[in-house]
């Protein structure tokens, strides 16, 4: 069966200026990203700020056209952004951002905003749409009383629920969530994470869940991709990848994640997160990598299949079967 979403060699290059008078330099925000997402699957995407997660999310939904490579939705090439075909597809793909207040209209009640996509896409009979909006609000745990309020009268968690309700209005097949719980307190974060997990199971949604927080990503995803400077450096099953990371960068991320009772030495990465405008040669991680060898400086490692559902881009990683790398 064709996967719902497929990306092959996606790249996006921005012109970035350092300082007011600086000459623009090309920044490869996303580089060589390939992935597949089946119906009803959840793929988590983790990485530090600037690693290209948000850009990848926009490319996967066709908000922006890639400079290289191709994204395919339901077996067909992604139509150009803004085209009538793309607008039609939009009902089937929705995006949720970190800041719900920015995504909502301050002047309209929450219920009116949840109903809006039904009107835009002509879903259901006009007289049934208010009831459908109320149903969606209820499904995300918001009462009719709260639906009658405007966004600034809601708490952060309630706003994010409203955004989720609106995203679900068109019964999408795919939801891309970009740091949807990062601005929320852990207690409220848990409410929203549980809600997304439940909705995903009930509605068979496919989901791309972007976050810098490994713990949240593991909680909600079946598979996880780790990004570093625009590239996927490791991918594997959520339960497995953080328990047995193979890429030195994933190892460092896991080791850095705070956990109660964590003892023993951390792998502390040297130096700063890298600057995408000055991408190191070879493996972009090599300047911070404790086990780098000369080859890492010269040659970009490709994302190799290690078996057991794992992929990693590191010259020093052998297949998981334990056999010698060829």
């Amino acid at each position: 069966m064709t996967p719902l979403l497929e990306a092959e060699g996606l790249a996006r290059v921005y012109a970035s200026r350092r300082g007011v008078f600086g000459r623009p330099v090309a920044v490869r925000a996303v580089d060589h990203v390939s992935l597949r997402l089946g119906r009803g699957e959840t793929l988590g995407v983790v990485g530090e700020s600037g690693s290209g997660k948000s850009t990848a999310g926009r490319l996967l939904l066709g908000f922006e056209a890639p400079d290289e490579g191709e994204a395919r939705f339901d077996g067909a090439a992604m139509p150009p952004p803004g085209s009538p075909e793309w607008r039609r597809l939009r009902a089937r793909m929705q995006m949720i951002y970190q800041d719900p207040l920015g995504a909502l209209d301050r002047r309209l009640t929450v219920a009116a905003q949840v109903k809006e996509p039904l009107d835009i896409h002509g879903i259901g009979a006009p007289e049934d749409r208010a009831a459908r909006a109320a149903e969606l609000l209820a499904a995300t745990g918001l009462s009719a009383r709260i639906g009658a309020r405007r966004p600034h009268e809601l708490s952060g968690g309630q706003r994010q629920r409203a955004v989720i309700a609106r995203a679900l209005a068109t019964r999408p097949d795919l939801l891309v969530c970009d740091e949807p719980v990062s601005a929320l307190d852990v207690s409220i974060q848990a409410q929203v994470v549980n809600l997304l997990s439940d909705l995903q199971a009930e509605l068979g949604l496919a989901m791309i869940f972007i976050s810098h927080d490994l713990r949240v990503v593991r909680q909600i995803s079946a598979r996880v991709a780790v990004m570093y400077l625009g590239r996927i450096v490791e991918e594997g099953a959520a339960d497995d990848i953080f328990a047995r990371p193979v890429h030195p960068y994933t190892k460092a991320l896991v080791s850095a994640a705070p956990a109660p009772g964590k003892t023993g030495k951390r792998i502390l990465l040297e130096g700063e997160p890298p600057n995408p405008a000055a991408r190191p040669s070879g493996c972009a991680f090599h300047p911070r990598c404790a086990v780098a060898v000369p080859r890492c400086r010269a040659e970009v490692p490709s994302l190799a299949d290690l078996g057991a559902g794992r992929r990693a881009a590191c010259h020093l990683v052998a297949p998981l079967s334990g056999q010698e790398a060829a």
Partner: protein, 328 residues
């Protein structure tokens, strides 16, 4: 032993709405105390009030003693000498606390002049030494850098260097790593721990992330709606919380290892100080609430060795959820 800091009955209200209701908290010399709770629970206000940093419309009462001497309501000149001297505070967003038009060296230099009376060469040499101490790469050159020329992690290091300029006995770090990437967060937490070892200073680490606090601190105080609701040694709190709010916070935290389980979300949100519920402020969100909980505010009382909780029905002390494995 006299505590380094003893806060008692600290109350704060803003325009008649009480944000802090008689907080009692003390800290031994060299101790690391974590302060956790959802946003709006009063973590920052506690220390801003203690150091006289709240705006004039805040009404503050109670007592804050530094090695036995009262500092609440002390004259401005006393507090000015104290802040950045014996007690230093760093914040989540270093960029907003650093002066954008002064170099890092100049800003650390000012703190050294004010609190240590250093000038000239000695001042610059000490500023460089402090930057080295906080692990600033290429410290000599960074002395003449402006904040916008540094990364977020480097600015936080510069803030810490400035805080160390007055050789503080107490460093209050208010969400110092919240804005940083996880690998940089790990570097800063490691730095705070090693500085504490080297200088013997005490640390208050304010964070909404229990994982961060549990790792760095000896003892943790949990705040809710302007009160301390539980206080315990860090590991003991995680193994067996006694207050349902603490249990809720721990259950809401996803883990990186072990079997995945459904998160136990705490329903509802932190009450606004103007709409505080009667009795225990947590009762409306509490799975264990009974009618008594709305009738009176439970006091913070001893529930075990070195443990206090403010709950009429504290949880049992045996870990009822032994399967909740504490990470190795």
């Amino acid at each position: 032993m006299t505590p380094l800091v003893a806060i008692s009955g600290l109350s704060v209200s803003f325009d008649g709405a009480a944000a802090l209701h008689g907080v009692d908290l003390s800290l031994a010399p060299g101790e690391a105390l974590g302060l956790v709770g959802e946003s709006g629970s009063g973590k920052s206000v506690t220390w801003l009030a203690a150091l006289g940093l709240l705006p004039p419309h805040a009404a503050v009462s109670g007592s804050v003693r530094l090695e036995g001497a009262e500092i609440l309501g002390a004259p401005a000149s006393t507090l000015d000498r104290l802040r950045g001297g014996r007690v230093a505070m760093i914040f989540q967003d270093p960029a907003s606390s650093l002066n954008p038009v002064l170099t890092i060296g100049k800003q650390i230099g000012e703190a050294l002049a004010l609190h240590r009376g250093l000038d000239g060469r000695a001042r610059m040499a000490e500023a460089k030494r402090l930057l080295d101490l906080v692990g600033m790469p290429d410290s000599a050159r960074r002395l003449s850098a402006y904040p916008h020329e540094l990364s977020g992690g480097q600015n936080q290091r510069a803030m810490i260097a400035m805080a160390l300029a007055g050789r503080p006995d107490l460093l209050i770090a208010d969400e110092p790593t919240t804005a940083l990437d996880v690998t940089i967060q790990a570097q800063i937490l490691e730095l705070l721990a090693s500085l504490r070892k080297e200088t013997g200073m005490a640390l208050v680490l304010i964070s909404h992330d229990l994982g961060v606090v549990a790792e760095t601190c000896d003892r943790v105080a949990v705040m809710y709606a302007g009160r301390i609701v539980e206080e315990a040694p860090a590991l003991a709190l995680f193994e067996a919380p006694r207050h349902p709010y603490a249990e809720g916070l721990i259950g809401a935290l996803p883990l990186l290892d072990g079997p995945r389980r459904r998160l136990t979300a705490i329903p509802g949100t932190v009450p606004d100080p103007r709409e505080a519920p009667p009795g225990c402020a947590f009762a409306p969100r509490c799975p264990k609430a009974a009618s008594a909980c709305a009738g009176a505010v439970p006091a913070l009382t001893e529930v075990g060795p070195a443990r206090r909780a403010a709950c009429f029905f504290p949880l049992r002390s045996t870990p009822s959820r032994a399967e909740r494995k504490v990470t190795a």
